[in-house]
């Protein structure tokens, strides 16, 4: 009897793991389909009399990109400053504190600039987009679009994807610049060099590949945030509580997705 219960529990456990796995694969497939469809409308909408409207893309660019500039600026600046402080403190033991400049230059452009921009966009837009689409889903506005013969993906997702693809690289370059500036201010104070010397050294350390690496990541983040946020919006159900759940889930998954993707990309790109 005990063995039977044990076997039963094991069966339940494996069943659960299996179900989760299938759900995960389903989510992945859903995301891929969403991506393909929204890219399709961006490219081919014109010929199918279902154009993606430029005004919608501009609106999304304002919401996603322009309005994120202050936060990105502050976070990137503070982060650059902190990296400089920590770097100088750590490297001082080796008498190599002046090496902090190249450390900042490389790690900001390759890693932290884009990550900060990504996390800010994930936090702001990841929740806002999921909430907006989720609300529309529950108010049957998505159904209304479909019965009018308007593809919800074309109408809602494609403009977001386009705006993300345009704004994420810009934000991450801004974030790079601000983080380097933040590091510069601390370096000037602590290392007694002037800002010109700092800037010259930063640029002499950087190769195009460093910045390029950040830009590739920013494009990947743009796609991930779009898919996770819109996907969570479309699948929201269960009233106000469900909407809250979808929104939270969207932000958490957006951040998790970009951090994990970042790690994977760093692994391959830094070989």
């Amino acid at each position: 009897m005990a063995a039977e219960i044990h076997a039963n529990r094991f069966r339940l456990l494996t069943e659960q793991v299996g179900r989760k796995f299938v759900a995960g694969v389903e989510d992945f497939g859903y995301g891929a389909a969403l991506l393909v469809e929204s890219v399709f409308w961006l490219l081919a909408g014109r010929w199918r009399q279902q154009r993606v409207r430029l005004s919608a893309i501009v609106q999304e660019m304002m919401d996603i990109g322009v309005q994120a500039i202050p936060v990105v600026t502050i976070l990137a600046f503070a982060n650059g400053a902190m990296m400089a402080m920590q770097g100088i403190y750590t490297l001082r033991d080796f008498g190599a504190e002046s090496q902090v400049v190249s450390g900042i230059a490389m790690s900001v452009t390759r890693e932290f600039g884009v990550l900060i921009a990504g996390i800010v966009v994930a936090g702001r837009s990841g929740s806002a987009i999921a909430a907006r689409i989720g609300t529309m889903q529950m108010a049957q506005e998505i159904d209304a679009l479909r019965v009018m013969g308007v593809s919800p993906v074309r109408y809602l997702v494609s403009p977001i994807l386009a705006a993300m693809l345009l704004m994420m690289p810009i934000l991450s370059v801004l974030s790079d610049a601000m983080a380097i500036l933040g590091g510069g201010v601390i370096s000037v104070m602590e290392l007694h060099i002037n800002l010109d010397t700092y800037t010259t050294r930063v640029f002499s350390e950087l190769v195009p590949g460093d910045i390029f690496q950040g830009l590739i990541k920013s494009v990947v983040f743009a796609v991930l945030i779009t898919l996770v946020a819109t996907g969570n919006g479309f699948n929201a159900s269960g009233g106000a509580e469900g909407l809250g759940r979808a929104t939270t889930r969207s932000v958490v998954l957006c951040i998790a997705a970009i951090v994990v993707a970042d790690m994977v990309f760093t692994f391959f790109l830094s070989r």
Binding site: T135, M136, A139, E141, V147, M148, G149, V150
Partner: protein, 274 residues
């Protein structure tokens, strides 16, 4: 005053044959068949859980049937190309239960949206058409308001204006009177009748409101637990002696005879180990 009586001899605009649908493992609609003639007002009536909202979603092509088929304007909607579907969608208007107006647009923009998406009419024509429909639903002058500024009855009327702006051949109306006070609900019923009298349109109304159903229907389909109990005229439904229909009419719930084995099974399923 119905100037063009429903012509049941010509080809139906909606035809449902033996529709079966599932939600997960649960059967929601079971062998549902019905047809709607041109110019007819068909009311689909049933209590909550009867499957009437599900039936509407399938009629709108929002889901695929598990068995059976649905024909709109004579075309099986499961086998349509996306282009053919688009042509049919232009001839369908839907007023959703909560209105489903787009909250980010004004009332006028909401009403104009189908025209903008599907036609290349002149801007003046589009404006005049949308305002004509707002006149029809008595919302003239409200076009610059946002949906959030409207009352429940006004939202339903705005949604109706959007649904008829393309002069559809079929108008679907989900729960027109739900959540409205009786006077406003009666106005809406009159509006539905006026629209049918003025335009060549078939109207499908899904409702649980008896008063409304009896007032506007040419025929009523009574759904119960996913099956059709009867399809008939208002008089036929009113005088039906089917006990389940009588219950619906008198709003009592019936005590089902208890099936001991099935009942015990439901209560104990997964709870006992022997």
């Amino acid at each position: 005053m119905n100037t063009t009586p429903p012509d049941t001899s010509s080809q139906p605009v909606i035809e449902v044959n033996n529709l079966v649908t599932y939600y997960g493992d649960q059967k929601i609609l079971d062998d549902v068949s019905l047809s709607v003639a041109p110019g007819e007002i068909m009311v689909i009536m049933g209590g909550s859980g009867s499957g009437k909202s599900t039936l509407l979603r399938y009629l709108l092509g929002l889901h695929r049937a598990d068995a059976g088929d649905i024909r709109l304007f004579g075309k099986n909607i499961d086998t349509l190309s996306s282009h053919e579907w688009m042509e049919i969608r232009k001839k369908i208007g839907v007023s959703f239960q909560g209105g489903a107006l787009f909250n980010s647009m004004t009332v006028g923009e909401n009403v104009r949206m189908p025209l903008r998406e599907h036609t290349s009419l002149d801007e003046n024509t589009i404006k005049i058409m949308s305002r004509m429909k707002l006149e029809v639903v008595n919302l003239a002058g409200y076009e610059h308001l946002m949906p959030a500024q409207l009352s429940g009855g006004m939202i339903k009327r705005a949604a109706l204006a959007r649904a008829i702006v393309m002069d559809p051949g079929i108008l679907f109306f989900d729960e027109p009177s739900a959540g409205l006070d009786p006077v406003v609900a009666a106005d809406l019923d009159n509006l539905i009748l006026r629209i049918r009298d003025a335009m060549p349109v078939s109207i499908v109304v899904v409702t649980h409101e008896l008063q409304s159903a009896f007032k506007i229907a040419d025929r009523i389909t009574v759904l119960d637990r996913g099956r059709i109990l009867m399809v008939g005229s208002v008089e036929e439904v009113r005088h039906s002696d089917n006990p389940r229909i009588r219950n619906l009419l008198t709003r009592t719930s019936e005590d089902e005879p208890v099936d001991v084995d099935g009942y015990l099974q439901r209560l104990t399923e997964g709870a006992m180990r022997f």
